[in-house]
């Protein structure tokens, strides 16, 4: 049983823009047997995607393979000519992209792109290829497989696109499938469906595969063996069972521990009288598009939401993408003036738009965004980014301001030297800490965190959450924490509100979240979070909880429909 894939002493070097050559893959050996799925685990920047791409003989711009061999189905891709590599890709090795939404060409129909591999390599006549694609759609449990091909990528949901990407990879009957973090960008509930489809397809065709991810739980469901990577070197290799249950390398241990966040230590004054409400949202209605006669915008996104936020506490807002949780944050911050309803801060009504609010009101309420890359001005050094709010709100200048910047950097556990660096030179975690420090600079009462950890690796996210928790206790800050990741909410929030299609379906203390959720949709959401044990996904099929959860989804949809008629 020779290996379908053998990587021997692979070294890849990359050129930084200063012309300095850095080795990003330092001698990696790896093999995949026929029909085996190997997972590559590690933080971003650990080189896992680069290794996976060498299977297709492709290196991203600026990188090149220094030495070593990557033999796939007996042929070394490193030694191949470009023409040979072109014939090789799509037929022997196929690639499933990380974000399918970006990997589909927006101006071509889905079917054209799925069958393209067949046309490029002239594997079969077009009609046969289309028929095969429809069968693949059915195998991947896609809704109305006959007609979905005719649609354009923007007319299909993220989860469906991910499965269509898998179909695109399978059309050429490859020997090896390369999965490049295919489910990271998806919501928890869609993630299950996609994983289940991938697992079934791999099992039926007995194909080998390499699964790149930073989420141990997801990988545990699908991989036979796990390879843990850090800074371009293999830290540990073992079967999924071995690695998950008794990890040997301390980095793997950190990965697993980050997976079980300690439940939030209940604040001392839990039992005391509830603190004065700092923020109240009363029957908020908001949306986009032209204002109708009924005073509501064309696309209503928030449907009379009521929320209260106590000082020093943090409220979690969870829900799938499209549930309106980000719109809620933007409405409160004043970026989207509400169509109806009231927002009150410290008892005083807040004006709808940012322009009409006083500087003091704006200072008290800060917002931190998800993608740190677009949240920091790429052309201003970190020191200048932090100095601006200090000057704007507190008119600090000169030495006092410089000292305050240093204090802020300490507060978020960043070295002072980062002051001179541009955001593009920091890692994801560091950028998000700067993002947060900028919010702290205003000495606010309330911070709106809009999915601030979902773009980070689990280990880095855990560290950031820990920091948030400490700062809340130290400075008595109040958080409104928006996320689609339940473990994050569990780690940091006192209470949690579940949102579905623009309405708040339920609110409860986080402690009762696991067991006490009443609303069908809340229960479905909570039960969809992948657990660390390998059998979890398979177990779902006949798990009573899940069957009821599936029933709940239909019930939740019926509930949402009823609501719409009523309003």
């Amino acid at each position: 049983m020779s290996n379908i894939v053998e990587i021997r002493n692979l070294r890849v070097k990359a050129k930084t823009d200063s012309g300095r050559v850095v080795e990003i893959i330092k001698g990696v050996d790896l093999e995949i047997a026929k029909g085996e799925v190997v997972a590559l685990i590690g933080e971003s920047g650990s080189g896992k995607t680069t290794i996976a791409l060498t299977l297709l003989g492709h290196t991203r711009s600026g990188c090149s393979i220094a030495s070593g061999s990557v033999t796939v189905d007996g042929r070394d891709t490193v030694a191949m000519s470009e023409a040979e590599r072109r014939r090789f890709r799509g037929t022997t090795v196929a690639y499933v992209p990380q974000s399918a939404a970006a990997a589909f060409n927006p101006s071509k129909t889905i079917m054209d792109q799925v069958v393209e591999v067949a046309r490029i390599h002239d594997l079969m006549p077009a009609a046969v290829a289309r028929q095969k694609a429809v069968e693949l759609f059915r195998a991947l449990v896609l809704p109305d497989p006959e007609t979905i091909g005719a649609r354009y990528p923007h007319q299909v949901s993220g989860g469906q696109l991910q499965r269509l990407a898998a179909a695109m990879a399978l059309i050429g009957d490859p020997q090896v499938m390369v999965f490049d973090e295919p489910t990271t960008a998806l919501d928890v509930t869609t993630q299950i469906e996609v994983l289940r489809a991938f697992k079934a397809v791999l099992r039926d065709r007995g194909m080998a595969g390499i699964y790149v991810s930073h989420d141990l739980a997801v990988v545990a469901q699908i991989a036979d063996r796990i390879v843990v990577l850090k800074d371009g070197e293999v830290q540990e290799v073992g079967t999924t069972e071995a690695v998950v249950n008794h990890p040997s390398h301390d980095y793997t241990r950190a990965l697993i521990s980050a997976f079980h966040p300690q439940a939030k230590s209940s604040p001392p004054s839990d039992a005391a009288a509830p603190a004065a409400p700092i923020l109240q949202v009363k029957s908020l209605m908001a949306g986009y598009g032209a204002m109708g006669q009924d005073g509501l915008p064309k696309y209503v996104v928030l449907k009379d939401v009521d929320l209260t936020l106590e000082r020093g506490r943090s409220l979690g807002i969870i829900g799938e993408s499209g549930s309106g949780k980000s719109t809620l944050a933007r409405a409160i911050a004043g970026l989207l003036p509400p169509a109806a309803g009231q927002i009150e801060m410290n008892g005083k009504a807040l004006a709808g738009g940012v322009r009409q609010r006083s500087k003091e009101e704006l200072r008290r309420l800060q917002i931190v965004f998800q993608l740190a890359d677009t949240a920091l001005n790429p052309n201003k050094p970190v020191g200048a980014i932090l100095a601006r709010p200090l000057f704007f709100y507190h008119a600090m200048r000169g030495a006092a301001r410089a000292a305050e910047v240093d204090r802020l950097l300490d507060m978020v556990r960043l070295p002072k030297a980062l002051k001179y660096r541009l955001p593009s030179e920091l890692s994801g975690g560091q950028k998000q800490r700067v993002n947060f420090a900028r919010a702290l600079a205003a000495k606010p009462d309330l911070i709106l965190c809009d999915e601030i950890t979902s773009a980070l690796d689990t280990v880095v996210a855990a560290a950031v959450l820990e920091l948030l928790d400490e700062l809340q206790r130290e400075l008595g800050l109040t958080y409104m924490f928006i996320s689609h990741d339940l473990s994050t909410v569990e780690a940091i929030c006192d209470r949690v509100a579940v949102m579905y299609e623009g309405a708040k379906v339920e609110e409860m203390p986080t402690s009762r979240m696991k067991s006490g959720a009443e609303h069908p949709y809340s229960r479905l959401l909570i039960s969809s979070v992948p657990q660390l044990d390998t059998g979890w996904l398979d177990g779902l099929d006949d798990d009573p909880l899940l069957r009821s959860a599936m029933a709940d989804r239909r019930a939740a949809e019926r509930w949402a429909v009823a609501r719409r008629q009523r309003s």
């Binding site: 690639y95 992209p97 970006a102 589909f104 927006p106 393209e116 591999v117 354009y152």
Partner: protein, 318 residues
């Protein structure tokens, strides 16, 4: 699909009316500021005060200019462009012949320069960073840095005077066949293509390079697509929007800006008509020419935007 496009077209036509009004008033005040008026210019050196006054009454130019302008605007609504002051002929008749010439020249130049500019832009993007790419950009810049009248004169010297292959003048009326058409239009079209294509090449190259760096093009590569397929069927369709815009901007130059080519090749186009009109302070003619330039310019931009929407499904069927 056409709902989106229809709405855009209606909105743009509304805006075009506003722009036309702005241009009409701007041109009116501009012409009023110019020294002398039609009567003085026509009489030229022998413009003694009484002669000027007499001629002005004869051409009933004695009402205040603003009144005449308002009458002209009124006439415009009913499609009557008024009569030229200088030769009392109907402005529409005067313009129509020359407008067809201008559109003909602009059309031939477009057919000639746009495909070449796009090919150069796309191939330069395909092989970006290579020697070919560098040569194309150096040549583009050096071509546009040669003054237009120099390019035209060199072309005439070489092809008309020295080699006698092509006629030095482009008399648009004697065109009776394709062969004749090519001979007549060869040099003005080459000269204009020099000027117009530089902007298009640079913008096309930049647009295609942007789309080449996108994930879906890398996906095509990983599906085994060749470089040609990656550029033509994946990168290009998404770059059509910015390219169409660049082409529209460059072609808008072809109506109003070609005065030099029209003078050197003695080609009776609208640009030269506008120059004559300005020199004789022939207000209705100036206004009509300015209107035409404005309408063509806004139409070109509208077409570019419509192409951008049609080529992008996300905008096409929202």
């Amino acid at each position: 699909m056409n709902a989106v496009v229809a709405r855009l077209v209606v909105q743009r036509l509304g805006i075009m009316l506003i722009s036309l009004l702005i241009v009409a008033f701007a041109v009116f005040f501009a012409t009023e500021m110019l020294p002398g008026d039609v009567a003085q210019i026509l009489l030229g050196q022998s413009a003694t005060p009484q002669a000027v006054a007499a001629l002005r009454t004869a051409m009933h130019l004695d009402q205040p200019a603003i009144l005449r302008f308002v009458y002209w605007l009124g006439g415009l609504v009913s499609g009557d462009l008024g009569r030229s002051y200088a030769n009392n002929m109907d402005v529409a008749a005067l313009i129509s012949g020359r407008l067809t010439n201008s559109l003909q020249l602009a059309g031939v130049t477009t057919l000639f320069s746009v495909p070449i500019a796009l090919c150069l832009g796309i191939t330069a993007a395909m092989f970006r960073g290579s020697l070919y790419d560098r040569i194309v950009s150096i040549v583009t810049v050096s071509v546009i840095s040669i003054p237009e009248f120099m390019v035209a004169t060199v072309a005439v010297l070489v092809f008309a005077v020295y080699l006698r292959w092509l006629p030095a003048l482009s008399i648009a009326d004697q065109v009776h066949g394709i062969g004749e058409l090519l001979r007549i239009y060869a040099m003005p079209v080459i000269t204009l293509s020099f000027v117009v294509s530089a902007q298009m090449i640079r913008m096309t190259r930049a647009a295609v390079i942007d789309t080449l760096n996108t994930p879906y093009v890398e996906m095509a590569l990983l599906k085994g697509a060749s470089r040609r397929r990656m550029v033509l069927s994946h990168a290009l369709p998404n770059a059509l929007g910015p390219i169409a815009n660049a082409v529209a901007l460059s072609l808008s130059y072809l109506l109003g800006g070609v005065i030099i080519v029209e003078t050197i090749f003695n080609y009776p186009g609208v640009a030269k008509l506008m120059v004559d009109a300005v020199s004789t302070r022939d207000l209705p003619l100036i206004q009509s020419c300015a209107m035409i330039f404005c309408v063509c310019y806004l139409l070109l931009i509208l077409i570019a935007d419509v192409i951008a929407i049609i080529s992008n499904p996300r905008l096409r069927n929202r």
